[in-house]
């Protein structure tokens, strides 16, 4: 039966010799077009991979997970509304009455008093030169202007280390853990949140006895700082297709860079 069938098929081919040639031609065309197809797509992706390879391997650590997505997303929304309905109008009115020099001065003052955080963390990371620089910056700016001006950095070329405990943990090889959005405080991670809690013991505002004064000082710090940065968050949000992911990625990239420094 099978032999017959084959014979029959063979005969069928013989009846239409053109079919055989046509089949051959189609086969050849397919054969020729396949490498073209195959070389086209991978070549393109190769080119893309080549140019953008770092963007995949840039994050040397595995990507930071977001297991608390729903909590984080609600907190992101909460902070967003807090900013647009509360903080921004407040900062705008404050900006209207307080001249920019004063606001910069206050910003520098709050930066200056956080000197213990930076000093301790440079030492914890064994960065002796940075520790020395931080000490000099604090002394020069405090004695020269009570910390309202950045004399050491602007006139004497000292470099800010901007270290904190989260970065210290990172320098010890600790990963971010997972992404976390804190109410009022914004984007963070398990590691950086723990760092922030630790740094709190080194921040002078934490040692103010009266709750009212402490809250007042913190409010001034936040509103003043915001008044100098109005528009940054808006730009980031306007340029983004998914502001939540954009903000998360920006935070994680920013912290990654800080740890590497």
């Amino acid at each position: 039966m099978r032999a017959n069938e084959i014979l029959f098929l063979d005969k069928k081919w013989e009846i239409f010799p053109g079919t055989r040639i046509a089949a051959l031609v189609i086969f050849m065309v397919l054969l020729c077009s396949f490498p073209a197809l195959a070389s086209d797509t991978p070549a393109l992706s190769l080119e893309a991979d080549d140019l953008f390879a770092e963007y995949e391997s840039d994050k040397k650590e595995p990507p930071v997970p977001d297991p608390l997505y729903w909590f984080n997303y609600s907190m992101y929304h909460f902070n967003d509304k807090l900013y647009f309905w509360g903080l921004k109008p407040l900062a705008q009115s404050y900006k209207f009455v307080a001249p920019v020099e004063l606001r910069r001065g206050i910003n520098n003052f709050f930066y200056n008093i956080l000197f213990p955080v930076r000093l301790v963390n440079t030492l914890l990371q064994g960065k002796i030169t940075s520790a020395g620089q931080e000490f000099s910056i604090f002394m020069i700016n405090t004695m020269g202007s009570l910390g309202f001006e950045r004399i050491a950095q602007d006139k004497h070329g000292f470099k800010d280390s901007r270290e904190d405990l989260g970065q210290t943990f990172g320098s010890y090889g600790l990963g971010q853990g997972f992404y976390l959005v804190l109410p009022f405080l914004g984007p963070s991670s398990l590691r950086d949140f723990a760092g922030k809690a630790g740094d709190y013991f080194l921040s002078p505002t934490g040692y103010i006895d009266s709750t009212e004064v402490k809250m007042g000082v913190t409010a001034l710090d936040v509103v003043n700082g915001t008044s100098l940065r109005i528009g940054d968050y808006e730009a980031l949000k306007d340029a983004a297709f998914d502001p939540y992911i954009s903000l998360k990625d920006a935070y994680l990239q920013f912290r990654q860079k800080r740890v590497e420094e």
Binding site: T41, L44, S45, L46, E47, A48, D50, L51, F52, Y55, D58, V100, R104, N108, R150, Q153, D154, L228, G231, A235, D238, A239, A240, F241, D242, I245, S246, D249, A250, Q253, F254, Q256, K257, R258
Partner: protein
Amino acid sequence: MGNLGIIIMAKPSGLKGMSMMKKYVTTTMMILGCLMWAFSAWASDTGPRQVVENGVNEVLSIFNKPEYQGEMNRKQRDELLFKKAQELFDFYSFAMGALGRSWQGFSPAQRDTFISYFSQLIADTYFAKIEGEQLSDLSVRYVTERFLDSTKSGRQRADLFTEVSHGGVVTPVDYRMLKPPGGVWKIYDVKIEGVSLLGNYREQYRERFMDSPDKLIQEVREKVKNES
């Protein structure tokens, strides 16, 4: 372009009794050819730092022009800035990197459409809102440039590190640039405080490779519309 000059130069010596007109035309063409060759050589010899420095200075001069202060002539100013941005940025590579996996699904026509809206969005969000007087105390320090390995297709790559001082705050701004063979250096990514703009978009598009190109194009188009 240099060959053109040589070819034309070889001609007059072989032909005698050439009319003045012809001589004039050939000489002009020769000079033009030499000039163009010199220009292309100059352009290709201009390093990443020079390109960005010139570009930043030109952009700043546009912002500082008296006629572009305030709300008057805002549209004109933004158009001028957009033109400058297109000279400085390789928006094709920028969009390709931003879209990541999704890029493969885009047809050449869809890519062009996407790029035109995408570049407009970038210009709108990062240029259009700046007031000239805000930049009065802005200064840029060009720290260093670092050349990276060329891509497989022979495009050179480099990182340019700068520090922008503004309002007493120093912000590191790094540019990632590429130069195709015979082309000029162009920016395809900007990193502000270590945050890569291209990487940020890539992350946003990472989960969305299932979305159709038309949907992604529609999204950018709407965003551009809302901005303006």
